[in-house]
């Protein structure tokens, strides 16, 4: 969904802020995140706790792949709070700041 388009960057183009970045996450059998590989350490760190989670479902009038269907998690990882979401259309994980 968020693949690089490989187009040449134009200076006139508007740049979206807070774009999600792909991240590796290990899920348990119930589909909750248990380990997260952060970019900084490049190692899997355990999720200490799930602080919050919410479901965002929008643009349902578009076709299946273009609708927005995400589950957001606010996690405590290595004593830091990060926000991740799982794209339910593609089953990929992304990190995103609020």
């Amino acid at each position: 969904m968020f693949k690089d388009s490989r187009k040449t960057f134009s200076i006139d183009q508007n740049i979206a802020l807070n774009k999600p970045n792909a991240i590796d996450v290990i899920e348990n059998t119930q589909g909750f995140p248990v380990k997260v590989r952060t970019k900084k350490n490049n190692i899997f760190l355990p999720v200490l706790s799930i602080i919050d989670l919410w479901h965002v479902y929008g643009e349902w009038w578009k076709n299946h792949l273009n609708s927005v269907n995400r589950i957001y998690y606010r996690l405590n990882v290595d004593e830091r709070i990060i926000t991740l979401f799982k794209d339910l259309n593609s089953d990929d994980w992304f990190v995103q700041h609020d």
């Binding site: 200076i11 740049i15 979206a16 802020l17 807070n18 999600p20 700041h97």
Partner: protein, 392 residues
């Protein structure tokens, strides 16, 4: 009516005011002219010394002669102060030379309840040790002659210019030095002797302009118009050191101390300065001057010092400095700065202007963006705001 306030021996009187111990001793003030030190003023005790005499000849006459080097900065300061004082009394003031101040006092006697009171005010406004003399006449030249004739701290009002003619010697005339000598060679010792001459004779001898001038003066006419000067109020501070300032840091420190003094001056209270003049004199007597005009009148030391240090950073001093003169000029009654109501729009205009200039210089578009809200309430974070180019 023109009044002339004259201070004779202005240089030596300034030296006495600076160092009263010199009074009663033979003193001369010397100045460098054509690579030679020449006497330009003397005290009454050094009667045998003539003005224009070389320094070596002067010291051979008096063994205990005190020789003082002319300090024109100080003389000009004192003269400027006198001009400011006179300008407070009379709005039309002019000066051609140090120690001579001309005032247009027409109608001023009504403000001071009579001419006698006005004369007293004019004379008493200058320190008594300067022994000012006041001459009053219908023209500048004859009021100057009147001032020359009157006793110290006295006044002479000239009602008939002709009566003065026998007293006016060629040296007093405002003409070229060569023509003064020529008058003497013709056996003319005073202006009365010329009163019967025709203008054409004088024009043949002294040229059309000078001949006419001499003839007019001999007839009691002074055709020179009075041109008054605009006296700009200023505050000055001289900083002298026994050694010298060799680094910019030490110069800045000295300026900082000098500014402290100037800004504490009661006459600067509730005022601001539009510009500052920095005069430097190096050890080898070179002069260097820098005038800095401020964008807006300033009264805060930190802002003034910031500007000075920025200016001094880029200049190269001609040598070690032994004297710094700081002068705050263009004093205004502004105290405080009114802020613009539309500060943000002004800032934006400035920013757009700077970006345009940058693009012109680089010849391409520059990636300078601003954060713009697109859907601030969207549940999807990447939809809420975006970076857009400031320039369309």
């Amino acid at each position: 009516m023109i009044a002339c306030l004259l201070i004779t021996h202005f240089y030596i009187k300034n030296e006495f005011a600076r160092n009263p111990r010199l009074k009663g001793r033979p003193c001369v003030v010397v100045s460098e002219e054509k690579n030679d030190l020449v006497v330009i003023d003397k005290s009454s005790e050094a009667a045998n010394i003539k003005l224009g005499m070389s320094y070596q000849s002067a010291i051979s006459i008096y063994k205990d002669l005190v020789v003082l080097e002319a300090d024109y900065d100080m003389y000009e300061d004192v003269h400027h102060n006198h001009m400011v004082i006179m300008n407070n009394i009379c709005p039309k003031v002019s000066s051609d030379d140090l120690g001579i101040i001309m005032l247009d006092i027409t109608g001023l006697e009504m403000l001071y309840s009579g001419m006698n009171n006005l004369k007293k005010v004019l004379i008493s406004s200058v320190d008594k040790e300067f022994n000012p003399r006041l001459g009053i006449s219908d023209s500048s030249f004859f009021s100057y002659i009147g001032a020359l004739q009157c006793p110290p701290n006295g006044c002479m009002e000239i009602l008939d210019n002709f009566k003065l003619m026998p007293e006016i010697i060629p040296d007093m005339l405002p003409i070229k030095p060569g023509n003064k000598l020529k008058l003497k060679e013709l056996g003319i010792s005073n202006l009365k002797q010329l009163s019967n001459w025709e203008m054409s004779y004088l024009q043949v001898q002294f040229g059309i302009q000078e001949g006419k001038k001499i003839w007019e003066l001999s007839q009691g006419i002074d055709s020179n118009l009075f041109r008054h000067e605009l006296i700009e109020p200023s505050l000055k501070k001289n900083i002298d050191v026994d050694e010298y300032f060799s680094t910019k840091q030490s110069i800045l420190l000295a300026i900082s101390y000098g500014l402290d003094d100037l800004l504490r001056n009661p006459s600067f209270r509730n005022r601001s300065a539009r510009s500052i003049s920095l005069n430097f004199r190096t050890v080898d007597k070179q002069f260097w001057r820098k005038k800095i005009n401020f964008k807006e009148p300033l009264f805060m030391k930190s802002k003034i010092m910031f500007i000075i240090s920025n200016v001094l950073e880029t200049v190269e001093m001609p040598g070690p400095v032994e004297r710094i003169i700081i002068e705050l000029t263009g004093l205004t009654n502004d105290f405080g700065i009114q802020k613009s109501m539309f500060l943000s729009s002004k800032k934006r205009d400035n920013l757009l202007e700077n970006i345009k200039q940058l693009e012109t210089r680089l010849g391409t578009k520059v990636p300078i963006y601003q954060v713009k809200e697109i859907e601030p309430c969207s549940k999807i974070p990447e939809r809420r705001s975006a970076l857009t180019r400031i320039l369309p």
